[in-house]
Symmetry: C2
Subunit: 343 residues, 2 copies
Amino acid sequence: MAWYNKEGLKSPSLISSRIRIARNIKGVPFPHKASKDNLKEVYDICRKVYDENSYLKENFVWFDIENTPYIELQKLVEKHLISPDLTKHTAFRGAMVSSDEDICIMINEEDHIRIQVIGGGQSLKELMKIANKVDDIFASAVEYGYSDRLGYLTACPTNVGSGIRASIMVHLPLLTDSGYVNQLSSAAGRMGIAVRGMYGEGSKAEGGIYQVSNQITLGVSEEEIIKRINDFVQGLVKKEEDVRNKVYQAEPIDIEDKVWRAYGILNTARSLSSNELLGLMSNIRIGAELGIINVDSAKLNKLLVTTAPAHIAAMCDGEPTSVSRDVKRAEYIRSEVKNYDVQ
Amino acid sequence: MAWYNKEGLKSPSLISSRIRIARNIKGVPFPHKASKDNLKEVYDICRKVYDENSYLKENFVWFDIENTPYIELQKLVEKHLISPDLTKHTAFRGAMVSSDEDICIMINEEDHIRIQVIGGGQSLKELMKIANKVDDIFASAVEYGYSDRLGYLTACPTNVGSGIRASIMVHLPLLTDSGYVNQLSSAAGRMGIAVRGMYGEGSKAEGGIYQVSNQITLGVSEEEIIKRINDFVQGLVKKEEDVRNKVYQAEPIDIEDKVWRAYGILNTARSLSSNELLGLMSNIRIGAELGIINVDSAKLNKLLVTTAPAHIAAMCDGEPTSVSRDVKRAEYIRSEVKNYDVQ
């Protein structure tokens, strides 16, 4: 079962967590400097690991990026399993995706091997264990580029060291409205923490959703990275909660009105753009946090993933237009929301 | 039962009809030129008619405007039973309102006696019969100001003649959006027809609702007045229907989206201003005309009357603010709309 279908997450503000480990094969140039032969070599090595490891072979699907339909790749991007970058240069790029869609190993993205593990809520510690398990499989089959002084060697200097990036996707609509998140970004940067939009570097924070991740891996242990991100995100969530409670106490009707109208529109609209939907779901999430509306955050997380453009396009008959996609999105949302018991 | 509670009206576009007869008592100056003694004389004469006529006495409530709470008067205005003008100079002003709230006789408004009869849909002929019956009661008790050459004498020259004004309240949202109604107003004027906002002279056309009425009564029979208004309104309704069907055929989803979102918001909003509500109800009415949503027009007509500001204020505990009124309006709308079976 995909992470976004698992109910019982504690806080709707904490959407998901992700661990990414960057590794490279010793003696082979990094992908951005690699020849076709180098890329093929890496691809073949990883394919061999996959073929010879029963855990991988039984639980993961191998995607040859070049031969995967565009819409399928976009769906993987929308699930945060692969990066948009992996879909740009496709030759000898690969991905192994677990059947639960919680783990993905990208081949020849920025680094030769990138292991990504995703989970609901704030779950970095558990995800780290899973990532390490996958890392061990590759470590026992290939020799990683490694320096005793620096640690694991990576294509981009910011990943040198443990090669670990820990990130949490978090919903901060009131801190967005108040301008706090904008002010925060540079301060966070000085602490080695990046606050970015939902789809990573350069993407906008649609619906008040941010990815918070570490920018430094050199000389910091994995425990320390996870602790820093957890603490930082907890601080943000606490601050968001304070502002939310204050605003709610001051103008309860304003918030209740927004939350319930959003629910009303999800139930009835015949056309919904992705952006409008993110705004409406943001209001429902605020309502869930405040106990105004009873919606399990797993439901919202599922919608967040399954209503993104490529997911909706895949539900359309034939080639979708932006108009038919918005109609399909509204239709799908109505069919989901009508089963909610929100009281 | 009030007109707006009677189901089974044919077209949601045709909201209500009204007949008004202006009469004055011979030898007494018109109200705007009358002394206090003159006004008292008229008031007392009419009260005597009321007291001595069993039909009036049993079926009508007498309101002494000066001693009627402001909010009650506003409710009568919102029901189109009395005019805003009647509430401005209150001394020796009166109103007899039938228990069904379909008939009102105003005393010392612009004329000494103004008989108003209101009904659902397009029903001028039936209303004219009722108005004539009430007129006969007064005609047999007092001598009207009358000229063989001109007909009934009235305070304003535009009412001289039959003293009859026939009006139909009609919903023309698409002709409003297209600018047609604006262009129409001056052309209608040349035909002796006025197209005004919902609350008569000088009021805006909220929610695409207009009052269409005759401006001339001199030398025109009551049958002719009614025929002219009926024909003119039928032409407007036909034109509105043509535009509506054309727009719906071109962009069905746009219209369905607006209609169903309006329904969703009525079901969920926690605060609704009178103006927003008129816009939403306008969309529902369009949907009812097009068969998109199943709402009897009586339901919409009831909401139109009962959600106006004074009606809502009367539902509030204590002195309402504009905020608490919008909250109460939303609460009342939810309680009404949740019982609709719209499929």
